[in-house]
């Protein structure tokens, strides 16, 4: 007896489309992000695919906690490469937009293509919102540290 798959049709559709989204992103990478544009294709492929893989997982599971954790790590890694949070946000949005564009082009005229386009647009909006919240949390933490240090320095003098 076979077990019915619990994977949503849209998650499957995204999985099928992922190689074409990746190729479009690789072709456009110089316009997406200067840092990606300077990378060789192999390295850029690895970075973009990591984001696309995660988007697939998020579409399949809808797990917001996991999504935030991924974005947090992604922001930290890019920060370690001296990328500003605004640049990271722009890149993630550009990846989401391109994915939606490919879904729209490839699924033109089909209900599934339209739904996937809308879903990817909403995922991009969710991602942008989550990234901003993470930046705001980081800002709050650093302001806390700043206040502590200020108090210590003032107290000591």
């Amino acid at each position: 007896m076979s077990t019915p798959s619990t994977r949503s049709p849209l998650a499957t559709a995204y999985e099928v489309l992922q190689p074409r989204i990746l190729q479009r992103l690789l072709d456009l990478r110089a316009t997406l992000d200067p840092a990606l544009g300077r990378m060789d294709e192999g390295t850029a492929r690895g970075q973009i695919n990591a984001v696309l893989d995660h988007l697939g997982t998020f579409i399949a599971t809808g797990d917001m906690g996991q999504h935030r954790a991924f974005l947090h790590t992604f922001l930290a890694m890019r920060a370690a490469e001296a990328q500003s949070p605004a640049a990271v946000l722009a890149m993630l949005v550009a990846i989401g937009d391109t994915a939606a564009q490919v879904a729209q082009d490839e699924g033109a005229g089909t209900a599934e293509g339209a739904e996937l386009t809308l879903l990817l647009t909403k995922v991009t909006a969710t991602t942008a919102r989550a990234v901003n919240d993470l930046i705001a949390e980081e800002l709050e933490r650093r302001l806390g540290t700043w206040n502590e240090l200020r108090a210590q320095t003032t107290g000591a003098t």
Partner: protein
């Protein structure tokens, strides 16, 4: 204005308000699909000659070979031809020696594809769906140092040579050309410009004008006007290319029926906003509910309506920037902005769902468009947050330095107090051993917890990533710092062993010591600032800072001990030299006495007419 394969193009240039001549040149050749901006440089009128010579050479090259070579190779070779032409002229005429020009060129391959080539600091931008993206990266010395990891972006911004070009056309017969392929989407705009534009106008203002939806000739004119209003301190040139809009499909429907359907829902939007508590948000405190709804709710409705009409995101972008920018300037908190945006998001969603229930197709298209508009709003907010983060980061680094200086001052004061102690005044070189070099000396350190250890590992990962690839010594010091800080036993031996690792085999008489102390100092700065980048509670962060600071002190102490230890043989040799010098001095004195005695004995034999006198005493 010209039409290139349905692509609309316009350009404009202006001498500016300060310069007397225009050293910029442009090419607008729709037949060739070639569009170029050049910015000449060099005294004695050579700048305009350089840009004009390069312009002519590039145009002639493309004209003769268009269709015979792939676009990338053709554009690169044309720019090389421009460089060779300027170089030859500068070598032939002493007065023109040193002239050169920047270039940014666009070769339209077909309506869906173009190639950008550039050398120097003239730029190309792409405006896509309301967002401005840089297609080029300036060829300045500082940017190249950033690329090699030798400078951070912040350091580059403050660097005195940030405007010094690392490449141009004319300095050499050949130059390196950067090329970018751009896949053009319907409605995309590409803008080429000289530094006279972006040097005197903010990126936001450029984005606003480029995304205005006006025709390219108006946009080019407005961009020039923008630079002139910003001071017009340089020649300014710009070319704007606009890709044709897509065939009348979804976007046309959104622009017309979609925009109207949205606008008709504005009262419903305001009603939902009121029900959701928009007038109670702290940002609109002090306003009446109607004023608050009009100021925030209606403004967003209008912004989305205008963006739907023109297929841009510029109005929503401006709305979000004004809303959050003003609030942050008043010291407002992020939570209020998030709360307000969530209310607006819900209002938009309900309105779109209602439109969708009446007209599935239109509602779907509107759903995508409105979702994109809200992404644009988040992008604008992200830019503001990131800028605030950058400012706080800068302040934090300043504060850390201030604190470190304070600790140093306290340490110096303590050392001075000690030096007044008669026991402490005993010269250290006469002591048989240096106390802090004893590897078995226990210190009180209970070790670090797992949480702190984990946070420390993250800190060190970031610190290593922020260290220049060639700074091997700093990386060694970071490793040593981590080992010492993680030493659960708290034994000073770890610091000594690590110091020996990084000290290696070196003596104080070659140049090996100062780079080591420089590396220790660099490691301290980079770890202190990296602590701020990890996600941890303030308490954990403070513990990490303390552990690293203690480890640093131990490492510096142990290293200093090694240096002193290495210098002891030199002290011994100095004392030997002093002893020998003393003996020699005694011998010289004794010889002098003998000489004087001999002179006295032989005084009668000396001729009194000689200059040293009759008694034989010397008078020199």
């Amino acid at each position: 204005m010209t039409v290139q394969r349905e692509m609309r193009v316009a350009g404009d240039t202006n001498v500016g308000k300060v310069r007397s001549t225009n050293e910029d040149s442009m090419i607008l050749e729709p037949r060739l699909g070639l569009y170029v901006v050049l910015d000449g440089m060099g005294g004695a009128n050579a700048g305009d000659i350089a840009s004009q010579m390069a312009r002519d050479a590039i145009r002639d090259y493309v004209m003769q070979r268009r269709g015979n070579a792939p676009a990338r190779q053709l554009l690169e070779a044309a720019i090389q031809a421009g460089s060779a032409s300027v170089f030859a002229a500068s070598q032939a005429n002493r007065e023109r020696h040193g002239m050169g020009t920047t270039v940014v060129a666009c070769l339209v391959v077909d309506p869906d594809h173009l190639v950008i080539g550039h050398v120097g600091d003239s730029r190309a931008y792409l405006l896509r769906q309301g967002r401005l993206l840089a297609l080029t990266r300036d060829h300045t010395i500082v940017e190249e140092l950033v690329d090699r990891g030798l400078l951070t972006a912040d350091e580059a911004e403050r660097h005195p040579y940030k405007n010094v070009l690392s490449r141009n056309l004319g300095a050499r017969p050949e130059t390196r050309v950067d090329l970018v392929d751009v896949e053009v989407l319907p409605g995309d705009r590409v803008m080429l410009c000289s530094d006279g534009l972006y040097g005197y106008a903010s990126t936001e203002a450029i984005q606003y004008i480029l995304g205005s939806g006006d025709a390219p000739e108006h946009v080019a004119r407005d961009l020039i006007e923008l630079a002139l209003r910003g001071g017009g301190g340089d020649n300014v040139s710009t070319i704007v290319l606009e890709a044709p809009q897509a065939a009348p499909t979804a976007s046309t429907v959104v622009k017309t029926s979609g925009a109207m359907a949205w606008w008709q829902k504005r009262q419903r939007f305001l009603q939902i906003a009121k029900d959701r508590g928009l007038p109670k948000n702290p940002i609109v405190r002090g306003l009446s509910p109607d004023e608050a709804l009009e100021l925030i709710g209606l403004s967003l409705c209008q912004a989305i309506f205008h963006d739907l009409e023109k297929s841009t995101g510029v109005n929503v972008w401006t709305f979000a920037q004004n809303l959050a920018g003003g609030w942050f300037e008043r010291g407002g908190e992020w939570s209020a902005v998030r709360g307000l945006m969530d209310i607006l998001h819900t209002c938009a969603r309900v309105c779109v769902d209602e439109i969708r229930s009446a007209d599935t197709q239109l509602g779907f298209l509107l759903d995508v468009a409105v979702s994109r508009a809200l992404v644009v709003a988040e992008l604008a907010l992200g830019g503001l947050l990131a800028e605030r983060l950058r400012v706080v980061d800068t302040d934090l680094i300043g504060l850390q330095s201030e604190r470190a200086a304070m600790v140093d001052r306290q340490a110096i004061a303590a050392a001075e107090t000690l030096s007044e102690d008669p026991d402490a005044a005993q010269p250290w070189v006469d002591r048989p051993t240096i106390p802090f070099l004893r590897p078995d000396r226990p210190v009180t350190n209970s070790g670090v917890s797992d949480e702190v250890s984990d946070a420390m590992a993250k800190t060190m990962t970031i610190a290593r990533a922020r260290t220049a690839p060639k700074a091997e010594l700093v990386k060694q010091v970071l490793t040593a710092l981590e080992t010492v800080a993680n030493d659960a036993g708290g034994n000073f031996a770890t610091a000594v062993l690590q110091a020996r690792e990084i000290y290696g085999v070196r003596s104080v008489d070659d140049a090996g010591v100062m780079p080591l102390f420089d590396a220790l100092d660099t490691a301290r700065s980079v770890t202190a600032s990296s602590v701020q980048q990890i996600q941890a509670t303030p308490a954990t962060r403070a513990k990490v800072l303390l552990a690293l600071s203690t480890a640093h002190q131990r490492l510096v102490g142990a290293t200093t001990g090694l240096v002193l230890e290495a210098s002891i043989p030199y002290g011994d040799r100095l004392r030997e030299v002093q002893a020998i010098t003393g003996e020699l001095r005694d011998q010289v004195a004794s010889a002098e006495k003998r000489r004087a005695a001999l002179e006295r004995e032989n005084a009668t034999n000396i001729d009194s007419s000689l200059p040293w006198g009759s008694r034989g005493t010397t008078e020199w």
